[in-house]
């Protein structure tokens, strides 16, 4: 388990194929299209992230809570549940499991605040969250230990001799990946490799400013910069994926001469890496749009939740 991802419940029960995931969402798709569903997922991931920030919990706890939320919705449709309650409960359970328990009242108070900021009311009290926790545990099949890419990132970065700022950047990308379905589709070390790859590929097309990119990924409220990210990342990813990009970051990664060889030796499917990279790029595009269109998400949620 803890020492071996592949024998863990995460590795054996909770990696889905794209087809299986699509099947899980059939009911929701009757009411909203795929793009809208992606926006809904971004929306709730943001709610959980904001809740975690208010509670001042660590990033790993936020990641665990979002993973619980996504796992829950592989077994249920949004329509038949109350996603805000599920979100708060996921955070409550994640804090316990990650050994930083929060009082149930603190969760509820902070959830009320962040929902008010969105013009909504969170009307649930203790016993509702406690009741929901029971249901959540059942839906998770009591599989509560979740693996995240952060640890793999540190290992990979160390092996590669990556600069701190690049590691930081990849860390932000991993945070952002929880707004996508990556945590349901790929093992965490593959997501970590993809985050690092995205950075390195971007550096290959060095004309795009790195630091603005960092702030973009963490706040994502400047659409124009996000646009640059998207194009830059696409170009870089495409170049690296076609294996033409021989001059990648040689001076940035002193421990490794040939970056392509290094990735090849990772024993990670490069197609998966480019898949994740594409997914993250389209996330940034959608995310930017969604942020300005609060009305739009409200309309989607109304349709989805009836």
């Amino acid at each position: 388990m803890a020492a071996n991802f592949w024998t863990s419940t995460h590795g054996t029960n909770w990696l889905l194929s794209r087809q299986a995931l699509a099947d899980c969402r059939k009911i929701d798709r009757q009411y909203v299209n795929e793009q809208d569903l992606i926006k809904v997922n971004i929306w709730f991931a943001q709610i959980i992230t904001d809740l975690g920030r208010r509670l001042q919990v660590r990033q790993v706890i936020i990641a665990t809570a979002i993973t619980y939320f996504k796992r829950f919705y592989t077994k249920n449709s949004f329509r038949n549940t109350e996603p805000n309650l599920v979100a708060a409960t996921c955070m409550y359970l994640a804090c316990k499991i990650e050994e930083s328990p929060q009082h149930i009242k603190a969760i509820i108070t902070d959830m009320k605040t962040i929902m008010q900021e969105r013009g909504e009311n969170f009307t649930y009290e203790n016993q509702k969250v406690a009741e929901m926790e029971f249901y959540l545990l059942e839906e998770l099949d009591f599989n509560m230990i979740v693996y995240h890419p952060y640890r793999s990132l540190m290992t990979l970065a160390q092996d590669l001799g990556t600069k701190n700022e690049d590691v930081q950047w990849a860390w932000y990308v991993i945070n952002d990946s929880y707004r996508t379905d990556m945590c349901l589709l790929y093992p965490p070390h593959v997501v970590a490799a993809a985050a690092l790859y995205l950075r390195i590929a971007l550096r290959g097309g060095a004309q795009y400013g790195d630091y603005s990119l960092t702030s973009t990924t963490s706040t994502a409220n400047d659409n124009s910069v996000a646009g640059v990210t998207t194009r830059g990342a696409k170009r870089g990813a495409a170049a690296a994926a076609s294996n033409n990009n021989t001059n990648t970051t040689a001076n940035e990664t002193p421990k490794v001469k040939d970056i392509r060889l290094w990735f090849a030796q990772l024993n990670v499917d490069l197609e998966h890496i480019s898949d994740i990279v594409q997914e993250i790029i389209s996330l940034y595009k959608l995310w930017g749009e969604e942020d300005k269109q609060n009305e739009k998400i409200r309309e989607i949620l109304t349709r989805l939740l009836k």
């Binding site: 388990m1 803890a2 020492a3 071996n4 024998t7 863990s8 419940t9 660590r58 790993v60 706890i61 249920n76 329509r79 038949n80 549940t81 109350e82 309650l85 409550y92 359970l93 316990k96 499991i97 990650e98 050994e99 930083s100 328990p101 009082h103 149930i104 203790n126 016993q127 969250v129 406690a130 926790e133 029971f134 249901y135 545990l137 059942e138 009591f142 599989n143 509560m144 230990i145 640890r151 939740l305 009836k306």
Partner: protein, 409 residues
């Protein structure tokens, strides 16, 4: 819209009584109660015989029973135990069959183990008045270390190893139980100390913990295994100290009495033995102790049922003061003691004639919804308990006066 979901969940939910028939009550503690039960469905074994599957069901009581207003969900201890048991799979770790939720209570369904170390130690000291055969002790110890090595390889600390928590099946297979205090320490979000101020039952608590160390390691489990080894050899706890109670402000007191018991046998530790001893928070308190010699050899020769030098060497290696120098579970498994005759086996009872008593089960208390009758509840263990009985599905209630440790969460 939640109503719809709730209905769906409730109809899908498997009821405990649909699958299991409760045979009787085993034990209880602050966590809840443990029952013996059999599966209603029998299975056919290889030779075509109908076989009954027996389980121990641990029913947690909600944190505040009956009080729905203050009910705050499942306890962190239950959370830990379930999450870890869900991941762990090893022949020397008690296996969790399934978890069922009913009446706001968690029911953990474990494989059943007929015996435990404590019960067997008692049987030899009270009934037989003869030591446990060396073959059985060695098999017990090897299997215990085998399970601990697996936990440690997976970055799990047990943190409450003691005879009552080490179960043994009727076939002589050791099963480490009660992971309610266990933790993954691979990626501590919080220093281990912050979560639980006190871990490990006092008699089995490692010296670094007694000296206030906040960054303890898997070596604390090995110390406990060493104490258990000694207890198997002598049929009584090696360091039977008295726990100093926490004061009202929840300050952790200095455990002078327990340290004295350890120093009586192992001598007062020196800087040469334990390089970082002066950095232990409680080190200044050691000034009042007189220095004393190590008498472990004497203890081994006079009180222990084995005369193997390798056995002594292994015991010393597990009771090493310096946690850095203490033997690891993995190295202990390779110790020469285990290649000496009698060699350990996965059936600790192989060729042995002892008939250990079956686990006491109160068959009149076979309704999990009703608290057991007063005289059958194994409660109120005296002595130094300040957290209530531990969550073993273990012993039969013969350890009056034994301390226990509930994790402070």
């Amino acid at each position: 819209m939640l109503a719809e979901f709730r209905t769906k969940r409730e109809t899908e939910r498997v009821r405990v009584e649909d699958k299991y028939q409760v045979i009787g009550f085993i034990s209880s503690g602050t966590y809840g109660r443990v029952y013996k039960a059999k599966a209603k469905k029998t299975v056919k074994s290889a030779d075509g015989e109908e076989k009954e599957l027996v389980y121990a069901i641990k029913k947690f009581k909600p944190d505040k029973e009956g009080d729905t207003h203050t009910y705050t969900g499942i306890s962190q201890s239950a959370c830990r135990e379930i999450s870890l048991c869900r991941e762990l799979q090893h022949q020397n770790i008690i296996s969790l069959q399934e978890v069922l939720l009913e009446d706001n209570s968690i029911h953990m369904v474990f494989e059943y183990a007929e015996h435990d170390f404590l019960q067997i130690i008692h049987h030899h000291s009270q009934q037989e008045r003869k030591p446990i055969p060396e073959f059985t002790i060695k098999s017990f110890l090897w299997q215990l270390l085998n399970g601990v090595a697996y936990l440690h390889a997976n970055w799990v600390l047990h943190r409450d190893l003691k005879p009552a928590n080490i179960l043994v099946t009727a076939d002589g297979v050791v099963k480490i139980g009660d992971l309610g205090l266990a933790r993954i320490y691979e990626r501590p979000l919080q220093p281990l100390f912050n979560g639980d101020k006190v871990v490990v039952t006092i008699w089995y608590r490692a010296p670094e913990l007694l000296l206030g160390s906040r960054h303890y390691t898997k070596a604390i489990d090995i110390w406990a295994v060493g104490c258990i080894f000694a207890e198997l050899l002598t049929l009584r706890p090696i360091f039977k100290g008295e726990e100093a109670k926490m004061d009202n402000k929840k300050n952790v007191p200095f455990q002078k009495n327990q340290l004295n018991k350890i120093f009586d046998v192992l001598g007062k530790p020196t800087k040469e033995q334990w390089a970082t001893i002066e950095q232990q928070p409680e080190y200044p308190n050691l000034a009042s102790f007189r220095s004393s010699p190590n008498r472990l050899r004497e203890f081994y020769n006079n009180s222990c049922s084995s005369n193997s030098d390798a056995g002594f060497a292994l015991l010393s290696a597990m009771l090493e003061y310096d946690p850095v120098k203490r033997i690891t579970a993995e190295d202990a498994l390779l110790h020469p003691y285990f290649s000496e005759e009698p060699k350990p086996s996965m059936d600790s009872f192989e060729g042995q004639h002892y008939q250990y008593p079956l686990r006491a089960v109160k068959s009149e208390d076979n309704d999990m919804k009703v608290p057991p009758t007063a005289n059958s509840a194994v409660q109120g263990q005296g002595g130094t308990t300040h957290g209530g009985t531990r969550g073993k599905h273990g012993h039969s209630g013969k350890d009056e006066g034994r301390p226990s440790k509930r994790g402070r969460v």
